[in-house]
Symmetry: C2
Subunit: 171 residues, 2 copies
């Protein structure tokens, strides 16, 4: 069995998390969209009321990646609220470096997030997947997840940039 | 012009918010799904690290609803995080009682939420709409929102109940 460790991220992991956020965006074919730095992650995730929590997967030094990395995966999540069911959580990113896939690290991160948020009283865990990413969809469905866009017809809507500024300006 | 006031909800508003959460669920044809009470809202939204924030719309006593209510709309939201753009927010519910629609209360609540979250440094506001609720979709799109499910193919995935317990149990 592959040996790896899952643990809560610390401020010192933010450079590695930032690197993997960019790797994930390349996979999602939207790498030009990443605007935040490791300094942003340090400030936003490790302050008094952090915007997110993060777990990382670490392998021993002797199993480091070809490029010398030992932090090889992460799960970044935050707390949300369902007005029907109560405290919930949202898994923003779940990522494992390609050369470390197929060893249970992704599954391990997902299960650990579920454990952590349940201890905080959460009754739901949600996330988003791209329609063409069928391997991710199959993975989540195999674990019992429901695709709400397909089953109930929920669509995601976003305001940003000038449009968000305009809304705020009308207040 | 209709006179109404928008203000941050207090613990004392939770009974009214709970009533409107049920009204919204009836509209969404999922009223059997509402499991939380006003006591839950009081505990989860008005504690040290609240799970959500809420604005309410209030009309003067002389314009109260047929059933005698003066709190006639609400917007419930919470803070999230984009690993590409940073601090963001999610509008869980936006609701105005049917007899008070068409008077700018919904627009007012949406704009006020945008103003509040921008002051907290948020760069995005997201929400979900049902595919058959074209009037809500048209409203958001007219204000410059993007439908991410249509434009980028994002689908919403949810774990809950026994499936979430199973994940946590495997950690």
């Amino acid at each position: 069995a592959m040996d790896f460790k899952l643990r809560a991220a610390t401020k010192e992991d933010c450079k590695e998390i930032s690197r993997m956020i960019k790797e994930l965006a390349v996979f999602e074919e939207m790498s030009d969209q990443v605007k935040i730095s490791h300094e942003d992650l340090e400030r936003d995730g490790f302050c008094q009321n952090p915007f997110f929590e993060c777990l990382v997967a670490e392998v021993p030094e002797e199993r480091k990646s070809r490029e010398g990395f030992t932090v090889v995966g992460y799960a970044l999540y935050y707390y949300t609220y369902s007005t029907w069911k109560g405290p919930s959580a949202y898994l923003e990113d779940l990522y494992v470096m390609p050369e470390f896939r197929g060893k249970g690290i992704g599954r391990g991160l997902l299960c650990k997030v579920a454990e952590v948020i349940k201890k905080k009283g959460c009754v739901r865990l949600q996330l988003s997947v791209l329609d063409w990413n069928t391997s991710a969809q199959d993975f989540y469905i195999s674990k019992g997840a429901q695709n709400l866009t397909v089953s109930e017809g929920w669509h995601a809507i976003r305001f940003e940039g000038q449009h968000l500024d305009n809304l705020a300006g009308e207040a």
